[in-house]
């Protein structure tokens, strides 16, 4: 019996080494441990034929063999299982350099992006955004803005007129000043911006017959030219960065007095002078000024009472072209690109 156990052990160890996969291991398990035909099971049954002392020793040896076989088979099974996971993972390899499955990606128009950036700066300063109509009348576009009929300044804004109704397309968003003051929910205080499309009969590389502006208006007691300066500086620094200087110089607009042109240190050359700033180191960026008393008077006249007494309230207004901001930002030199809707242009912006 002792020799049989030793021989069986040697056989098992040799066969276990040779067993390649899970099915070979299962066959091995059946051959040694099977309830009906297992070799160890057969020897266990044969124990009954031995004497008591011999049976005790042989039983101990057989139990040791059984444990040896079981643990050997279990270890081999675990090894085989882990080998097949590794093989499966290897089979499942993807080419991680192929493009991903992107959710569709569109874009906002660069002028929308610029406009919303401008709006956000003024929203943060407590401004309200006011939308006025694009189809306007002479009163809101010119007359109330101190540009009566025959005023030479009307030549600067070649106007599109509608065939009927005495209407026109607004030439500037300054119309928003008048519309807001006439419908102001908390007169005489005003703090608004009016973004939107405007129209002039011009079409060349620097002019589009349709373009976009943002007008701003602040009215109240004690509003000063110093407030105009501080507000515009804060706005331009927020938009372009505080490293660019801002310069104010007297100018002329019929609806402001004093009128102020605002220059920004050239963002291209940093002020040294280049083609973009025509060697001046400055970029003309926006117009502004203190609201002309005649504008308040025109609004009062239409309201039929003195709501904006020029002796009591003052204000400042400003206006800038949204295309101008986008052109300075992105180095664009042809305004018409914004309206040609060529995807080769639009897709350059992250949107």
């Amino acid at each position: 019996m002792k020799d049989q156990v030793r021989a069986l052990r040697e056989d098992f160890d040799r066969e276990l080494k040779a067993a390649g996969d899970a099915s070979a291991l299962q066959a091995l398990r059946d051959r040694y441990l099977g309830r009906k035909a297992g070799a160890i099971t057969a020897l266990m049954k044969a124990l009954g034929a031995l004497g008591p002392a011999e049976r005790r020793v042989a039983g101990q040896e057989l139990n040791e063999l059984k444990t040896h076989v079981e643990s050997g088979l279990d270890a081999a099974r675990d090894r085989a299982a882990s080998d097949s996971t590794a093989q499966r993972l290897a089979r499942e390899r993807l080419d991680i350099t192929l493009p991903g499955r992107r959710p569709p990606h569109g874009r906002r128009h660069p002028l929308t992006a610029a406009r919303e950036d401008l709006e956000d700066i003024f929203l943060a300063m407590g401004y309200e955004i006011f939308d006025g109509p694009e189809v306007e009348d002479d009163y809101h576009c010119f007359e109330a803005l101190n540009m009566p009929a025959d005023h030479p300044a009307r030549d600067m804004q070649d106007t599109f007129y509608l065939a009927e109704g005495g209407l026109l397309l607004r030439t500037h968003t300054s119309t928003g000043q008048i519309r807001y003051m006439l419908s102001n929910p908390h007169p005489p205080d005003v703090r608004i911006i009016c973004p939107g499309k405007v129209y002039r009969r011009d079409d060349d590389i620097t002019h589009s017959p349709m373009f976009q502006q943002i007008e701003g208006l602040v009215v109240g007691k004690g509003i000063t030219l110093g407030d105009l300066k501080g507000t515009i500086e804060a706005f331009l620094h927020a938009l372009f960065g505080a490293q660019f200087p801002v310069r104010f110089r007297p100018s002329y607009f019929p609806y402001t007095e004093p009128s102020v042109e605002v220059d920004l240190g050239c963002v291209v050359c940093g002020g040294k002078g280049c083609r973009v700033c025509k060697q001046t180191g400055w970029l003309e960026i926006m117009g502004s000024g203190m609201v002309h008393p005649a504008v308040f008077e025109a609004v009062n006249a239409r309201l039929g009472r003195v709501v904006y007494d020029p002796e009591e309230v003052t204000g400042f207004a400003f206006g800038l072209g949204i295309e101008r901001v986008a052109m300075v930002r992105h180095g664009i030199d042809n305004i018409r690109l914004f309206y040609e809707n060529d995807l080769r242009f639009l897709e350059q912006f992250p949107g």
């Binding site: 128009h109 507000t231 007297p250």
Partner: protein, 683 residues
């Protein structure tokens, strides 16, 4: 306007280098656009704002320089020695239209016409004026120097040596100096003669009395014209000259006699002639002098910082204003060359620009109110974000389009009276037709096939009340063409109706508003515009709202536009997405849902929505959700019919459902569907 430095130095001394002078002028409101040359030979190119006609001449700029640097302004030399018989005996001037010509002055000069001396020719060439002869050159010289346009007539060629300033007679003809024969219509002023006209008042002289080599005696005029009259005439004639440019902006009514004397002075100086005794001065409608009251406190309240009283007074008097005694309100007499200054605020500006805007401290006014985006503004931003997020690219097309309008019930179109071209003559009634379609064509021409665009902008011509409500409204246009966004892992597929419908559904879901009801196109206005069986119109938000649609372009229109494939388009009213009611949260389900599928075979023309409606009617209260999950139309489904697989979900918030309850609802559904004559598959 060109200003030679050497010419400036005749009237004012300054030590600043030219680039520094240019900066100082710019910061005082006279923008220097460029500098040609160096030192005393330099010429400044000034961009003078339209209100500052007083600076459209060398002397006016010299006055600004004198205030900038606190340097005295030298008077113009105008002394003359008169010779010969009195001027008034040689020349008769009558002003018949004082409303046109408040002041008309003349002098008679005996001249020797010839070339100008080199210095005079040099000055004119510096400012870009071609020298002609000494008489004409001097009129140009004096205009550039002091801003007063003048005209020299050959007295011998002036019929009866007489001038009548009057309005043109209808149809009156005149050959102007530019060689054009003009027929005058409307209210145009002329310098008339005994017979016919000699020149256009304030705009251009005539050829008939032009000075020539043989001229011996010159009738020289300088006038002050009514600005609106000159402006209207120049506009009507389409003729804009140096003279009209100045007169229409309001010249100096005191300048004509001075300019005549200045010219006579220079004429004698170059040895080309002398003036006869006497100035002929027809000041028929004297201009009122402007006096303005200025409160020093007002300067502070407008600028936000005080300016020293002495500084304010120095600036004003340097600019020619006569300032009264210091008090609460100074009396300020405005010089005659400053027609642009009419009220207190104008004086504040004069002080501010010479004090220096840079010296005013910057402040930010405190904000008293909380503001933010209005609901519609927030909506518009969200629409753009969502559509960009869904793969569409935003475009902005022109608001003016060709005369060809869009589809749908045609609104009254708004037309431009003065369009740039016939292609831009009408305000667009739609964002799609033709805006988005032309944007598609632009990109197809570039070889792009897969194009997904949207535009959110105003359309015009809707039937709105004038003039209180504007005839314009916001619209959202969508356009999809080519293939759906794909990946190398799957076969490409063309976009179809359900892609664009899905975008509309996505917007409704993301705004928390009810999903729109898609209905078949109705009415003849869609014929040959949209595919009748692959398009829908949306149930209107409210009666009377404009039509909104989703669909495939009609093949006829596709052919007419020379497109290879039909794009899908949609036009929507963004008001449809006005943010929905605030959300009330429902308790989370504590008991499981039971799911069942039913496959029903119907005629191909039956809308799925009809099947779903029948199911909802028959199901009873436990049915939570029902949706189509598959559509199948190949064998064994008979031809002309389709099989729709519908997923049903049952749930009760208070308990677990039994199998029998669910089965009896499914049985009721099956019975109801069969009652409609539809078959149930696999049941």
């Amino acid at each position: 306007m060109k200003v030679p430095i050497g010419w400036l130095r005749e009237f004012v001394d300054f030590t600043a280098e030219v680039p520094r002078l240019a900066d100082d002028l710019t910061l005082a409101g006279l923008a220097v656009d460029g500098i040609e040359g160096k030192g005393d030979d330099a010429v400044l190119d000034l961009d003078v704002t339209t209100n500052r006609v007083d600076c459209m001449n060398v002397y006016g700029v010299a006055r600004e320089v004198s205030v900038l640097y606190g340097s005295a302004l030298r008077p113009l030399p105008v002394d003359i020695r008169e010779e010969g018989p009195p001027a008034s005996g040689a020349w008769t001037i009558d002003v018949e239209a004082p409303e046109l010509c408040p002041r008309f002055c003349g002098r008679v000069l005996d001249v020797r016409v010839g070339p100008s001396p080199a210095w005079l020719r040099g000055r004119l060439e510096q400012v870009g004026v071609r020298p002609i002869d000494n008489v004409v050159d001097l009129t140009n010289y004096v205009m550039i120097e002091m801003g007063q346009p003048m005209h020299a007539f050959d007295l011998a060629r002036m019929p009866e040596a007489r001038i009548v300033v009057r309005w043109a007679r209808p149809g009156e003809k005149l050959l102007t100096l530019d060689g054009q024969e003009r027929t005058l219509q409307g209210r145009i002023g002329v310098i008339g003669a005994a017979r016919g006209a000699l020149g256009l008042a304030g705009v251009m002289g005539g050829a008939s009395s032009e000075v020539s080599d043989s001229t011996r005696t010159v009738a020289l005029e300088a006038a002050y014209w009514d600005p609106p009259s000159i402006r209207r005439a120049a506009k009507a004639l389409g003729l804009h000259t140096e003279a009209s440019h100045r007169f229409e902006r309001g010249a100096d009514p005191e300048a004509p006699p001075v300019a005549l004397a200045r010219l006579a002075h220079l004429l004698a100086k170059i040895g080309a002639g002398t003036a006869r005794p006497g100035l002929i001065d027809r000041y028929v409608a004297p201009r009122p002098r402007t006096r303005v009251s200025l409160r020093p406190g007002r300067i502070t309240s407008v600028l936000g910082a005080p300016v020293a009283v002495s500084e304010s007074r120095r600036i004003l008097s340097g600019l020619g204003f006569a300032v009264g005694e210091p008090s609460e309100a100074w009396t300020v007499d405005v010089p005659t060359w400053r027609g642009d200054v009419t009220r207190e605020i104008d004086l504040v500006e004069e002080i501010a620009r010479h004090h220096g805007l840079g010296r005013i401290p910057s402040t930010i006014p405190p904000s008293a109110r909380v503001e933010g985006l209005r609901p519609t503004q927030r909506r518009d931003r969200k629409v753009r974000e969502l559509l960009a997020g869904a793969g569409l690219i935003e475009v902005i097309t022109y608001s003016f389009v060709s005369v060809d309008g869009g589809p749908g019930p045609a609104p009254p179109l708004l037309r431009l009276a003065n369009p740039l071209s016939a292609e831009q003559a009408v305000l667009r009634p739609s964002t799609v037709f033709p805006g988005l379609l032309s944007a598609l064509r632009t990109n197809l021409r570039q070889g792009r096939h897969d194009v997904r665009l949207f535009e959110l902008g105003r359309v015009f011509g809707l039937d709105r009340a004038f003039p209180e409500a504007a005839p314009e409204e916001l619209r959202l246009g969508l356009l999809l063409a080519g293939r759906a966004p794909g990946h190398w892992s799957a076969a490409a597929r063309a976009v179809d109706f359900y892609d664009v419908k899905g975008l509309v559904e996505l917007l409704a879901i993301r705004f928390g508003v009810p999903r729109p009801d898609f209905q078949p196109l109705a009415g003849p206005s869609w014929d040959a515009v949209l595919h009748p069986n692959q398009s829908a119109q949306l149930a209107p938000l409210r009666p009377g709202r404009p039509t909104e649609y989703v669909g495939l372009l009609h093949p006829d229109l596709v052919a007419r536009l020379e497109l290879k494939e039909a794009p899908l388009v949609a036009e929507l009213d963004p008001a449809r997405f006005d943010l929905g009611a605030s959300i009330r949260v429902r308790a989370l389900d504590r008991f499981p849902a039971v799911e069942r599928d039913v496959a029903v075979v119907v005629e191909a023309a039956v809308p799925a929505e009809d099947v779903l409606a029948e199911i909802r009617r028959a199901a009873g209260p436990l049915l939570r959700e029902v949706q189509v999950v598959d559509k199948y139309d190949r064998p064994p489904v008979p031809a002309g019919r389709v099989s729709l697989t519908v997923a049903l979900a049952y749930q009760d918030p208070a308990r677990t459902l039994t199998g029998d309850e669910v089965q009896s609802s499914v049985d009721a559904i099956v019975a109801a569907l069969r009652a409609r004559g539809w078959d149930i598959r696999g049941e």
